[in-house]
């Protein structure tokens, strides 16, 4: 269980820096790539899938 929590925290870390990159990004296409990666990460972070 501890390991699951650590890995969820890891996902949160990666997710946070993806959001930072989407925020700083100047090209819509790259913003969309970032957003696309957030979907599975978010669902796993929330343990919905």
């Amino acid at each position: 269980m501890l390991m699951t929590l650590i890995y969820r925290a890891l996902i949160a870390l990666v997710l946070f820096f993806i959001l930072v990159n989407i925020w700083r990004e100047k090209d819509i296409r790259n913003q969309a790539v970032g957003a696309m990666v957030t979907i599975p990460l978010l669902l796993r972070l929330l343990m919905l899938k």
């Binding site: 390991m3 650590i6 890995y7 890891l10 996902i11 870390l13 990666v14 820096f17 993806i18 930072v20 990159n21 700083r24 296409r29 790259n30 969309a32 790539v33 970032g34 696309m36 990666v37 979907i39 599975p40 990460l41 669902l43 796993r44 899938k49």
Partner: protein
């Protein structure tokens, strides 16, 4: 191959069924090519568009559940890539890479062939321990790259060497995930593979590094090389090495002492290395290292999500089966050619995916040979998938490590080593029965 499928279809119903599956395959490829080359979409987005195209022509609409579910296939790989990338940025900032590069050159420059072979083993090592070519390229691969470039080997050759090192490391023992995937499909335990895998990977690895590197480091001028090396920070070597030591020790310990050392997993091991670097070096700027690492890794993470979607859609629509049946339909003389071409080509999606989707049926088609040798050889051939664009996990990261934007010029340098790898693989597939003595 597709031709063979169409000609062999017998009943009209079969032709119709093959028709929709073939149409879906064509639509997926066309949308992907148009999307990535003409519209200049990032590869990941072009893949999403292609996946949607595939479901639309199959009359399945846009099945959101399947698209998102497919994207989950590589979530663990995404975490490995993200954390490995951050780790590499951090040891770049801390000066660890510069330090090791300098030390290796000072000690071994007099024997270039030996030096190159040792460097190749170093480049392979994380792949051998973790079974991940990405982890290898982004950790010791980066160190080896710096040494090679400082020795005067051009960047393109350097990238090709560490890419090949990463994927051969992935296949070399003790941990070879593709062969485990193939074995899992036929209930073959992961036992007895050590020597066959060493015999297959080491010659290929040494050939690669000598073929690409030796001619560039014959008469080394050590003074000039030392002048080119960047300054190393004024701290002890042990402190500089500590993040790498932490990662190396944990990688080995989790594999060698299961039950005593918990299975931390690559992402957590990299994070512990990153934390060590932050505490032992004042030059590390964690926030910027993370942000820039994720920026570099995002295109590949997007590709992985996109590939997951495409595989799910190919499975859903029957395209996956069409490809596998097509490969198995080849007459026996062409079967080996089919293995040599279809497994690396399917690797455009991923080496692991190729091992699972094609490796298992091919192993079943080759029952009667020595399964362990055949499985090892198929995994060796599957490793080439990590060079195949658009995904080319080993290749793209290797290019990034040396600072080359256009991966294709790296790929060109990999062609001959890759052919050697495939030939070694096919040789062992054909003569598997004669190599049973390698299994201890």
């Amino acid at each position: 191959m597709l031709n063979a499928i169409l000609h062999s279809a017998t009943s009209p119903r079969e032709v119709i069924a093959l028709g929709t599956e073939l149409l879906a395959l064509v639509v997926i490829i066309v949308i992907f090519v148009v999307g990535s080359f003409a519209v200049k979409l990032p590869i990941g987005l072009a893949m999403v568009a292609a996946a949607m195209g595939g479901t639309l022509v199959s009359g399945l609409g846009i099945p959101l559940r399947h698209l998102v579910e497919g994207g989950f296939g590589y979530i663990d790989t995404i975490l490995v890539i993200a954390t490995a990338m951050i780790f590499m940025k951090v040891i770049q900032q801390s000066g660890t890479l510069d330090f090791i590069s300098r030390e290796i050159i000072i000690r071994y420059y007099k024997k270039p062939a030996l030096l190159l072979m040792l460097l190749m083993l170093l480049a392979m090592f994380p792949g051998m321990i973790t079974g991940s070519s990405t982890a290898a390229v982004l950790s010791t691969g980066a160190i080896v790259a710096m040494v090679l470039i400082n020795l005067g080997i051009p960047k393109v050759e350097t990238a090709a060497i560490i890419a090949m090192g990463g994927l051969l490391g992935m296949i070399a023992p003790p941990v070879n995930v593709p062969v485990m995937i193939i074995g899992g499909g036929v209930d073959m335990p992961y036992v007895g593979f050590t020597l066959p895998l060493l015999v297959m990977t080491l010659p290929a690895a040494f050939f690669t590094v000598l073929f690409l590197g030796l001619k560039h480091c014959r008469d080394l001028d050590v003074e000039a090389i030392m002048g080119r090396l960047p300054e190393v920070p004024e701290v002890s070597g042990f402190l500089l090495l500590s993040p790498l030591l932490v990662v190396g020790i944990l990688m080995v310990a989790t594999q060698a002492l299961p039950g005593i050392v918990p299975a931390l997993g690559m992402p957590l091991i990299f994070i512990l290395g990153i934390i060590t670097a932050i505490f032992t070096s004042k030059r590390v700027r964690p926030f910027e290292a993370c942000a820039s690492a994720i920026k570099d890794a995002l295109p590949v993470m997007g590709i992985l999500v996109g590939i997951g979607m495409i595989i799910q859609v190919m499975t859903l629509t029957g395209v996956r089966g069409l490809i596998v049946i097509g490969a198995l339909s080849l007459p026996s003389v062409l079967l080996y050619l089919g293995i040599a071409t279809s497994i690396p080509l399917f690797g455009t999606i991923s080496a692991y995916g190729s091992a699972s989707v094609l490796g298992v049926p091919f192993l079943l088609a080759l029952l009667g040979g020595n399964e362990i040798i055949v499985g090892s050889a198929l995994s060796l051939i599957a490793s080439i998938g990590d060079l195949m664009p658009p995904t080319a996990l080993a290749g793209i990261f290797a290019a990034q490590v040396v600072g080359i934007d256009n991966y294709f010029i790296v790929l060109r340098k990999c062609i001959i080593p890759a052919l050697v790898v495939i030939l070694i693989g096919i040789f062992f597939v054909i003569y598997s029965k004669h190599f049973g003595f390698l299994i201890l």
